[in-house]
């Protein structure tokens, strides 16, 4: 007899707006407080204290326009946020400061979240959707110099880029970008040369979100339809469909694979969070707490596996935090 799904460990309230993005920062040594950063539709970034379950500070840097991406760069003192005011802001949060140190004007009016990749100490590559419809620009941070612009060939009709993931196989190798587009295809780009390595049409509808496991060279993408698509990358750098999984209700906003690559979580338009085993995509749990579309899911980066958490932000303005499969 299977157990009923667990309840959330706790629920964070107080954003007063739909939550679009979440990011944990819990990896620091003991005196550091585990934090959760959330970006909301009203333009605020809330810094949640996971011990007290209260907001430590609220950052207002996007002119009250919705924030749809937050990421930390080297610990919790440097934060990157992206908002609908067409800007990417870099924050300095050390020692209680809350100031924007730098910003990039992207001129991107869509919802495509940027992707960060640390290439060396103090240097990152950032992939972001640019001003022109189908292009992706790679910038180097913090210098903000453009590394290259990835333009699909004329007539490819890919549409807007919807989701991005920069990764490299190991520290020295070439960075590559996986981009999901409006026409339902996932494209693998070689960043340094700026050309397409492989393209795979995974969905009939726009790709809403994707995540990639570089160890197993396997990735997963979700779209507005009822199908999850799992694809793999072979030695020739070609994308192939590995498997598809049909969902009960259509629409996926976000997918994320846990850092230990054992499970993954999807955020659904049907208000539910689904947990799957990553190896064979075995459905493990359906977490039904929210009363509106779940916009984002994120796993924590606790060093102690027992403390690992999963957070989900929804349009109903709540962030649910779960402890699930933490024992493995």
């Amino acid at each position: 007899m299977a157990l009923p799904p667990p309840d959330p460990q706790f629920v964070l309230r107080g954003t007063s707006a739909a939550v679009h993005t979440l990011h944990f920062s819990c990896g620091g040594p003991e005196p550091d407080i585990p934090l959760l950063f959330s970006g909301s539709e009203n333009g605020f970034i809330h810094v949640w204290n996971l011990k007290t379950h209260r907001v430590d500070s609220a950052l207002d840097g996007h002119g009250r326009k919705s924030v749809y991406c937050v990421e930390t760069m080297s610990g919790k003192d440097k934060l990157l946020s992206q908002g609908r005011d067409q800007r990417i802001c870099l924050w300095d949060l050390a020692e209680g400061r809350t100031s924007v140190t730098d910003s990039v004007f992207t001129e991107h009016v869509g919802f495509c979240r940027c992707s960060l990749l640390k290439v060396a100490q103090g240097r990152w590559l950032m992939a972001m959707a640019a001003r022109s419809l189908e292009e992706v620009q790679i910038l180097e941070l913090p210098s903000k110099t453009s590394v290259c612009t990835l333009k699909p060939e004329v007539g490819a009709k890919l549409g807007m880029p919807m989701c991005l993931k920069l990764w490299q196989l190991n520290c020295g190798s070439q960075p590559v970008l996986l981009a999901g587009y409006e026409d339902g295809s996932v494209v693998l780009w070689n960043v340094s040369m700026g050309k397409v390595l492989s393209k795979l049409i995974c969905h009939q509808e726009p790709v809403m979100s994707l995540d990639f496991d570089s160890e197993k060279a396997k990735g997963i993408s979700g779209s507005s339809e009822k199908v999850l698509s799992i694809w793999s990358l072979n030695e020739q750098q070609n994308l192939q469909v590995y498997k598809t999984h049909e969902l009960v209700n259509a629409g996926i906003s976000d997918i994320t694979i846990r850092p230990d690559k054992k499970i993954l979580a999807t955020a659904g338009w049907d208000h539910r969070i689904r947990i799957f085993g990553w190896k064979k995509l075995k459905p493990l749990a359906v977490l039904d707490y929210h009363t509106a579309t779940v916009h984002c899911v994120s796993f924590s980066d606790h060093s102690n596996p027992q403390e690992r958490l999963l957070a989900a932000g929804s349009k109903d303005q709540r962030i649910s935090v779960w402890s699930i499969y933490a024992q493995t």
Partner: protein
Amino acid sequence: VCFIPGGLDCSISFVSHVLGKVCIHGRQKEILGVLVPRLTELTKSDCIWQRICWRLVECVPDRWMEAVVLGFVQRAPSADVLSRLLGNLVVKNKKAQFVVTQKILLLQYGHTTAVLQNLLGYLSLDGLRRTLLLRVLQELLETWSSSSAVKHSPAEQQLYISKAILICLSHLKEPEIESCRQELLMSMMEGMKCHLDSSLPQLRRLGMVVAESISLKINTDGPVLKFEYEEDDETRELKSLLVQTPSFYVVPSLPDDDRSGKAGAALPLVPESNEKPHTAAPVMPDEESDAELDSDDDLIPYDMSEDKELKIKAPVYIRDCIEVLTGSRSEDVDKWEATVKALESLVRKNPAATREVSVELAKILLHLEEKPCIEDFVELRQRAQVAVLTTDPIPVAKYLTSQFYSLNYSLRQRMDILDVLVLAAQELSCPKFHGKTKHSGAQKPCIQLLLGSDSTKDWRRIVDERIKSKTRRFDMGRSRVELASRPNEFNSVAGYFFFPLIQHFDRPLTTFDLLGEDHLVLGRLVHTLAILMYLAVNTVVVTAMGKALLEFVWALRFHTDSYVRQGLLSCVSSLLLSVPTEQILADMTEELLETQSWLGDVMEKDPDGDCRRLALQNLLLMENLKKKLEVVPS
């Protein structure tokens, strides 16, 4: 009558005279039946015979020319045979020209399509005659685009003229079209306007087909006029006329269907879907699952039986429905859709709750717009309105009838009001409609009335059945099982449905003038009154309704729109069927006599075929009434 060939110079005028005299006495068929095939044979290759033939017809005296020409036109098997037989008679002889270009095309309309084809083909075959063809086309277009012709001429004549126009168009060559392009365009615009204005769907369709064809001809490149209408045999036949069929033997006796098979529309080439293969074959590496230790098995799944498809729940209470529909929360589109779908059954299940808010609900439904697109929105809304009206008839009927004559409603909304009143009246008066099984039956009148055009046909059937049931009363016993009888709920409310509608028809408002432009709505109103009258049989107010209706009909009896006149005649039918005979004769004798003479007039002189038939039916009904009275001993 045989001819002796061979170089003789004979005078044929005597033969012409004989031919003419025979034709004028009505024996065209006999004599031309022999003559025409013989002449066709002889003139096939022999020029002399052709000339003899031409002399023959040219010498027919003017007073008999018409009969002869008409006979030839009707008997000739094809256009070039006609051309061989008549030659340039139409150019040389004034009378023949008049017959061919005016009389057959504009003044008569009983000829078959084949005759038209032959005639117009004949005109197109010779350069001298082509000017006549153009002139004919111009005159046909003038008639087609004249609004009084559209309003007053019978439908058959309009069909005939349309066919002639299409055949002319098919014969025109490029330079000729160039020269009269402007005029074609102007007539097309004029004619289109008059035809679309008409209340009869058949005329509207005719106008659309002809306008499309003209547009096709004059705009060889660039966008072409395209209407949306239902294709049926008539439109297909008309369209096939545009394509010039080769002028071989097209015997007039062939049915027209054969020709429609040659319709020139190119078969749409189905684009082959040569899409490049998308998803590569899924790679199923079997080795992986064996080799690695399945640490996934350590993860025990939770119970997921609750994970079902997400269904948006519709509200369960009527007041909640009202809130959603007047909704400030316009984002909740799914809920709105679920509410609209569930509303009718909710109303029917909760009559008491509905009665509390009935007028408000009626108001909301009347103004409800289709916010997101749902399938069957119109039908769902109508069913909900009918449900509300039948649950609480009196206040809602008062509201709806008052809104019918109010300012600032669209024509569509006013006609919706009429439809809803009729459907509700049907439901209230018919006991069967209360059972659950009858909901499928309720759909049929719904759809019919939405289309609006078929109510006369439906009518005729009902009236016919009623007449049948009344006249054979003495022969048939009760062979049918009686349905469970219920009190006629329409009885108490019939007056509220009927009288307010009839009250203000002659009072124009700024946006709504029944007696003026909005004659379509007037037509629908009249038909609605006829149905309400019919359903009011055996109610208490039926006599008062009858009197009011008769006065109404009398006031409008000379209306120019044939749809309105058909409605008026239906009103008289339902009146005669519903009001008990004794009441009719007691209260309405003089009016009935006047009506009878009016009906006689309509039956003889009305241009519309349906009106004449309805008038005849009414006169028959009146006869039956009289007979019934004579049977009953005084």
